[in-house]
């Protein structure tokens, strides 16, 4: 048995990501933080669907008898992974454009919009 280990790892990943957003100043590091939160949530979803001793929900003709791992959370995770790539790419594109204008990726110096 693995017990609650995946869920503990999820909490660690999400907390680490949120801490990164507050504590790190480099814009690319902030995007890494978002990526960590995302992997935490994905791991949470997959662990939710896991049934001990279950079979993967991908067979057309499933072997009879064994319980099946829940398919819905896996579908959700697939969607979430794709959305995550889109947001990451968009944020990195903005970071590159900001660097081109300001010559820095330091959040303390990218403060034209204030007040």
């Amino acid at each position: 048995m693995i017990g609650n280990l995946p869920f503990v790892v999820c909490v660690i990943l999400v907390a680490l990501g949120l801490w990164t957003l507050v504590a790190k100043r480099n814009l690319i590091k902030l995007v890494i933080g978002i990526g960590l939160i995302e992997s935490g949530v994905n791991l949470f979803l997959v662990s939710l669907g896991y049934v001990h001793g279950g079979i993967p929900p991908i067979y057309t003709y499933a072997p009879s008898g064994a319980p099946m791992v829940l398919p819905t959370p896996q579908a959700l995770t697939l969607t979430s992974i794709v959305i995550g790539v889109a947001t990451t790419a968009l944020m990195l594109a903005f970071a590159v454009v900001i660097y081109r204008h300001k010559g820095t990726l330091d959040a303390r110096k990218i403060r034209d919009l204030r007040g």
């Binding site: 957003l21 454009v97 204008h101």
Partner: protein, 510 residues
Amino acid sequence: MSAHAPILAIAVPLLGGFATPLLAKLHKRIRDLWVLLIVLFVGVAVGYVAVHVFTQGIWVYVLGARHPQETVVSGGFPIRIMLVVDAMGAFMGVITALMALVAFPAALKYLPEEEGKTLALTLGSLLLAGIMGMAYTGDLFNFFVFLEVTSIAACALIGFRTWTSRAPEAAFKTMLLFSVSGLLFLLAVAFLYGEYGALNLAYVSVLLRGSAVDRLALALFLGALLMKAAAAPVHFWAPDAYGEAPAVKALLLVVNTQVSLYGLWRVLFTLYGGILDTTVGWLVVAMGLLTMVVAAFMALAQTDLGRLVAYGAVSQIGYMLLGVGVGLVTMSGRPDYGLVAMKGGIFHMLNDALTVGLLFLCVAAVELVKGTRDLRELGGLGHGLPEVALFFLVASLALAGIPPLNGFASKILIYEGSFRASPILAAVAVLTSILLLAVFARAFQGAFLGPRVNVEVRVPWPILVSMGVLAVGILILGLVPGFFVEAMVTPAAKALWLGRSLYLSAVLGG
């Protein structure tokens, strides 16, 4: 066709948006015509759905069923994805379609071809699809997907003017905060799925028991949606985003904020309506007061016209939070003033869309004519642009809640309802309105009054027509509000405040 109106209102702008760049390769005129057709189609579909919902009750549309009106049998487990449109969702759809019908024709003339017009139109269409999806869906995970669609489309719209340094900065900050809120929303959905094994909003709502996991999920929903709805103190992205997006497209961003508010009401009233106590209501009220006051003071300190209007728009969100928050506080006792406050808050969503939309169109016109939005350099435009000056004046007065315009009609409901809950709430709301009047009087004086200046560029007529439509809407809603309140706002308020059991039985049967 008409039986599929709810899904078509989402699918057509989504697929049509992706087709827009391809058609732009053929000819620019075909693309413009195509975009107009999409928006017109959405308008017609939303209108049809709204008439149906306001006359015959909740419309449940089941995807993948033999028959789209097929609902689950009593006590059954809903396995299909559903769209559930009740009066509130239909009302939100009407606001969205109205703003899209105004924003897109104006955008066709406002955006220069070499500045990524095709991209902006595509993203606008996707944003429209996401907003419609959030308004109509009855499924938590679909809500998350549409939330992310709106986040991506909105942030790309904010930052697509990459040759300025301010727009990508606003887009990056907004996107970062939107991503976090979206992921926490997904985490909340996962909590509920883990607890109950379902994603259907109505079904989960029936099963909710108020355990610790449910409450944690509620906290995550609240945090994520309050952020996306720009409630203080997590509103920091909103003035940046509204101010830096192309002013014509800021209309859609305002609707995007409102649909996040709608999602918040949906979660609080329908999903958690059975187990909610007044603490959350008071939190919403407190954040509403903070939002309106802080944003109004910040508007006073602005020198950029676009940013000033953006802060004005954020302060209006405070009024909606206050109105519906009072309804939330009084939901258990159901006194009649709670419904009055709810009506005010929901009516204010429509009024805010009209007035703020008109203000942003005026900003767009000023920027088009003078090439700047700095109040220190502007002035005297009233001689050359009398119609824009008039529209700005009307919208400012409506936003500040001056009778007999529409802003007052909804604000008096909020004042009266919140006064009965606590006089302090109404006092703060009235004082903030006075402050906003001062702010917008200053903006009007700075941009339009003063010695005559030369105006070479004319404002294109589609923008003026869009402004005229919004101004007429402001006047009509101001002079005869009773008709609209009775026909649309009261059903919408009741659908949230009293209609939870109707919503649940419409989806689950029995």
